[in-house]
Structure formats: C-alpha cells, structure tokens
Symmetry: C2
Subunit: 113 residues, 2 copies
C-alpha cells in the first residue's frame, strides 16, 4: 500500500470530485443498479450518466456484470477503503509534526509557561 501509483490515485480522487458520481457510487454501494436505472435518477441524458459510470469503473470504484441486456453496476468498497487509507496516511504525517513539536517543548521548558 506504500507504493502509491500516482495515476491511479489521481483517477480515484478525480472520480470522487463530482457530486453526481458520488451519488451514483452511494447507490451502487447500497445495491446493484443497471445503468438505465441509474440514468433514470438524474436530470441529464443517458449518455452523460453512462460516462459517469465509466469514470467510476475506470477508477476501480465500481464493477459491472452483464445480466441479459442489462449491465449491473456494483460499488467496490475495497477501492473506497484504499482512498480512506491514503488519507489516514496523510493524517499520520501530521501526527509526526505534532510529536516533533511536543518533543521540542519538552526539551526546552523556556518555550512554554
């Protein structure tokens, strides 16, 4: 997980940086939806929704499976977790800063009351 593969991370955050796509992701995490069922939920063309689904799919946030003439999309929680763990890693960087500040204060009592 330390090897980041920046392009993949770019794609993940980019996919999440659109409210329609976040809403689609929320729906397909809750249950499978066909592309047209998703399209029916939004005030835009079928093609626009289909492109949003494709962006989420390329980022690995959802997967599709064929069921007759329908394509059923399902959210991938592992990808969601991988994004969360990157943020956790960022928070750890910040914790290191705080630890360094605390150490400095402890070693130099003049600094604080």
């Amino acid at each position: 997980m330390i090897e980041e593969d920046a392009a993949k991370v770019d794609a993940l955050f980019h996919a999440l940086a659109d409210r329609t796509r976040r809403d689609i992701l929320r729906r397909v995490l809750a249950r499978e939806h066909s592309v047209s069922a998703l399209a029916a939920e939004y005030d835009m063309s079928f093609a626009a929704v289909q492109k949003h689904v494709a962006v989420l799919e390329r980022a690995g946030l959802l997967a599709k499976r064929r069921a007759g003439r329908e394509q059923l999309a399902s959210g991938d929680v592992v990808a969601v977790r991988s994004v969360a763990s990157m943020l956790a890693e960022l928070e750890q960087v910040w914790r290191g800063r705080i630890a360094r500040i605390d150490a400095l204060i402890a070693s130099d009592p003049e600094q604080e009351d």
Copy 2:
C-alpha cells in the same frame, strides 16, 4: 456533518486529485513551508506551484500566515479528516447492503447451504 455542501466536497476531492497538490499537502502537514520553499521542490514555475497552493487553500486543506515577506503554508488536518469521514460514511452504506443480504439469507434458508 450530514449536511454535505456538495460544492465544498467537490473542491476537496478536486484539490486531492493532483499528485503535485497531494505532495504539497503532505509537506505542509509535516511542517510550515513558504510558497517559494515549496516551489523550489518542483520542476515547474513558481506561479504554477502558487496556483496549486491556492487550490488547496480554497478547498480549506491548508491555511497561510504572513511572516515578513514570506507566506507560510500549513496543512489543516481537520479538512483531511472531513474527507476521510465522508468515505467512512460511504463504507457504512455498503455495510447496510451486506446486512440486508445477511438478513435475507437468514430468513430464507433455501438460498444457502
């Protein structure tokens, strides 16, 4: 935290969807950096880095304070956590799906061995 303010969330994920900005954020979470100190780290113009810093600032991921002629940028861990908590919320949606599937299996023993 339930009120999402989609535009703010868009800005947060968009700001994170660029590897240079993620790297800048990492640095300013670890410690304060002047804009020019940051610019010196990348193979692009000062103005380009300054714009990346501005994007992070508008998203609320970093704040600047004046120190003489320098502008010192510092990462905001609260904003990072707010993104993480949105992802946690998405994961909860997924857990609901799993719970529903489990309940279905429990109520209909024919479905599983």
